[in-house]
Amino acid sequence: MVSRNTFAALGGFAMLLAALAACAPADETPTAAGSPSASANPCPSGALTTRTAGKLTIGTDNPAYEPWFSDNKPAGGKGFESAVAYQVAERLGYPAGNVTWTQVPFNNAIAPGPKTFDMDINQFSITDERKQAVDFSSPYYLVRQTVITVKGSPIAGATTIAALRKAKLGAQVGTTSYQAITDVIKPGTKPQVFNTNDDAKKALQNGTIDGLVVDLPTAFYMTAAELDGGRIVGQLPQVGVPERFGIVLDKDSPLTECVSKAVDQLRQDGTLAVLEKTWLAGTGGAPELQ
């Protein structure tokens, strides 16, 4: 016969499971705290349904690269994306004092489940497939992918895309730079993929890759400040829909419309152009590859 202890253990376990299934975690959709005023003003200044009332939580990754941020300190306000983030927050009614920054690795930004941020700004490119998993704000920057290399590399003097096909190219994992290699250049050898742009830079310096594909501002910064003998080979042509950066928000977030409106305002009154000139200066004049 089955002993009493076994029955007790089994029964206890079944009850534990049932209890777990019953007391499910709190509902994901926030209670409609702001919806009575939705008809009046959908984006009340400084009073949006944020994670912490009265404060806007912005996320970005660590390390936060130049020229998008400065000195790996997003809260400093220096750097193009840091400046854009603070401007958007101001338009939404959150002065710099009410903005908190949080570190959000790439995977946490796109994972299902509650987010640890209200909005995430980290050079996310807007694509239709990604839109199924997260919300994007209006674009705040038009991206061009660029090939960079170092002096003495076999592709240092290349002027056409065909000349790049025999090269060993690299890009950071999970970026549209990698997709640009596979869709636009279509090289003969498989491209190399790196966890971070730091690893990719080291590989470029070591000569294990001949060229690296990054976005244009990063290309200018890397070749000017970070690589010895770095040089820009050229910009890649846009294929299909032009690539743009957007701010990432949780899927069906109540803030998406307000953030998009703020970004549109920045574009219309010329603030975005001023910020681009300040932080992304000298990003014109790179040759275009055919």
Binding site: A14, P25, E28, I110, P112, E129
Partner: protein
Amino acid sequence: MTTGGYRPSDVQRGRIAYRRRQTVRSVLVAALSTGVLGTLLVLAVTGSPGWDRVRTSFFDPRIARESFPAVLEGLWLNVRMLVVCAVVALALGLVIAVLRTLRGAVFFPVRALATSYTYVFRGVPLIIVIYLFAYGVPGLRLRATPGVLVLGGAALVVTYAGYLAEVFRAGIESVHPSQLAAARSLGLTYRQTMRHVVLPQAVRRVAPPLLNDVVALQKDVGLVSLAGPIDAVRAAQIATAENFNYTPYIVAAVLFVLLALPLIAVTDAVTLRAARRQNAGT
């Protein structure tokens, strides 16, 4: 002497009927308990409020189909590296274990080197060794620097040889000293003793933990993707970033398990056979 068929007695027939009833009852109870547990688990998972989001994020069939070829191609790199690295690591581990078990005062430096090798390379994380080999060595700009795949493979071999050396050493030291004494009394030299008496027994004895380490190596081989090449997990990561969907990781996980199954089955068979041999039929 009755040559007719054996006819069980009533008591025996009663026993057979009782055992059959008990078997049926056990099966029914097992089915019922499995059903209850399974239902509770399924309810617990699918009843959670976020289940739909998780299902589309992790188990999307369309994305699984799209990412399958890329992940499979990455897995092919894993398999090739596994075969090469396992063979070389086993050989290197055996050499180090033998060096470490050399007797005699004159061999002290050799023993010390082998010992410190196992200490260092079991202590250092594999990721750091891969970074040193794949990013540091090409930086030296030596003339015949091999490609990153070879360097990454060397990092794996060097680290795993440390673990395998200790497993081999355990096997060598577990061979009873009477075997060595018998070999000595037969006039075999040390080398002959190792080759014909000790190593065959030792290797057979530690075959199960060795195969276990090879199964572990199968996954660590993917870390070579830190240096640039695309393995199965990296291919899944690329596909995930394209769609902001985690299904490719599930695809990679399933393929890894399928790859490990033959290896694990062989491990279990070898372990069983070794146990049966050593315990003489217990």
